[in-house]
Amino acid sequence: MLETPTSAPWTRVPYRWYTDADVYAREQERIFRGKSWNYAALACEIPNHGDFKTTTIGDAPIVLVREKSGAINAFENRCAHRGVAFCYTAHGNAKAFQCPYHQWVYDLKGKLIGVPFRNGIEGLGGGMPAEFDLADHPLTRIHVAERNGVVFVSFQDNMESLEDYLGPAMVPYFDRIFDGRELKLLGYERQVIDSNWKLYMENLKDPYHASLLHVFFATFGLFRFDQPAWCTMDETGGHSVMAVSARSAEATEATKGMKSFRSDLKLAGPELIKPVPEFPGKAIGVMQTLWPNLIIQQQSNTLATRQIVTKGPGSFELHWTFFGFADDDEEMISRRLRQANLVGTSGYVSIDDAEVLEFSQKGATPYPDNEGVLEMGGTGTTDQEHHITEVPVRAFWRRYRDVMEA
């Protein structure tokens, strides 16, 4: 057993946190069904009255539906009768939800409005007791918050507002992409990765690996140590931003020490990496991670939400929702679609990450009493103006310890 430094415990990560079933169960309760705003959808996925979609928060299947007033309601996907996940299609349009098992029917607010044979059959008897009241058996509603077209849910009552939850350091980055313009859904990608879900969060908080692991990034000038870059966290440490500005594919002093820089390679289809600036500020790429299950990706002109869905300690699914804006012209849509080659289930850089996370899980699983080390860029958890650091990962573990050990 190694000793975790008491002054900066977040510089060490016990490997059992990636593998232990009890830790995983506690995460479901404390994190995903705890005091969190979980990402659930883009509002443009369910634009009309009656549109619904299903998704999963941690282990918990939920349904989101737009009611007549335009509000979005969310429920546990669990019939009040026998616990059936009553909504078994990924998306659609419904006037009401009917559980297939005994055909209990709920309205779009989750109110139980029909129970077959509630009064039995005349002459045969049966039916519910006289005191059975439909009002006592609604679907379990969960809380919904929406900001500029992005929908979050929480299983907890008395949550702070979404804006307070994100905090003043994160809201401007969120609004940089989601500035209130109408969003346009471009499509989905989903994949299952055999590693603990937290390894993925850490990956998107780890600028240190970006120009080392990703030959494609380094070689074609999309992300490299010699570019101006910064890391910003919120007060809790759970949310973070990795941002990079300016770009160059030329060889410099810094590329000499970078084995991943391949000056011999050229793209036959270079239009892939020709972005057009479209957001305010100097950043050309921003990855924002929001506790506990969301990454907002702006890589050049390709935009996506990446939703983490846990599947036990050793596996998770990543659900990518690619989007643009309703006022995009055709050229911009094409650009977003072309640049999507960089990321996703077949992304020139994302493949590397998915593979390495599986190697991490494989390496750590037999050694629950060993620990990972996070000391690049020091031992602290405050913002830094470069990317040769693991500071957002340390901040993440600070938040994790606060939530799990409280």
């Binding site: 990924a90 859904l185 471009l186 499509g187 989905y188 990608e189 989903r190 994949q191 299952v192 990765i193 055999d194 692991l213 030959v215 494609f216 070689t219 391949r262 390679l265 793209l267 036959a268 289809g269 270079p270 239009e271 892939l272 699914e317 690619f322 849509i333 094409s334 679609l337 072309r338 999507a340 080659n341 996703g344 289930t345 077949s346 992304g347 020139y348 994302s350 493949i351 590397d352 998915a354 593979e355 390495v356 599986e358 190697f359």
Partner: protein, 151 residues
């Protein structure tokens, strides 16, 4: 003609599985190559995990497999079946086929990786047949790990 189209598909399978550098040679210069999921296809959503416009982008896909992508060594095996061909517009051929892809790692048994269908347009180029539009629709919406090799 069906026989010649089948030969093209078998050559395509062999190219991906055994000599991926040669795989772009089976496309025209202005070819489009896309791999997408059933849900994107059914819902008319334009996003595709692999989205190549022009042979340059197809060449880069093959280059990435060999030169820039980090992944566990694996061997792919494509089986292409149920080939059907009809005459399309302007002398082009419309072709449909099913694919089954198996994946084998150095230290594990073989597993089924993906199944789906090809919806293709094929043109004559001299004596050869080449793909000028190839759309691969995966039956599953969820990829096992990543799409590292072409489909």
């Amino acid at each position: 003609m069906i026989r010649r189209v089948e030969e093209l598909y078998y050559d395509y399978a062999q190219a991906i599985d055994e000599e991926v550098e040669r795989w772009p040679d089976l496309f025209t210069e202005d070819a489009r190559y896309r791999v997408t999921s059933r849900e994107n296809y059914d819902r008319n959503l334009p996003l595709a995990p692999i989205y190549c416009e022009g042979r340059g982008m197809i060449v880069d896909r093959a280059m990435a497999v060999r030169k820039t992508t980090v992944y566990a060594t694996r061997f792919m095996r494509h089986a292409i079946t149920n080939v059907r061909v009809s005459e399309g517009a302007g002398g082009a051929l419309s072709a449909r086929a099913n694919f089954t892809i198996y994946e084998t790692f150095e230290d594990t048994i073989t597993r089924l990786f993906a199944v789906g269908r090809y919806i293709d347009t094929i043109v004559r180029s001299g004596d050869a047949l080449l793909f000028c539009d190839k759309l691969c629709v995966l039956d599953s919406n969820v990829v096992i790990g990543s799409l590292i090799y072409p489909v």
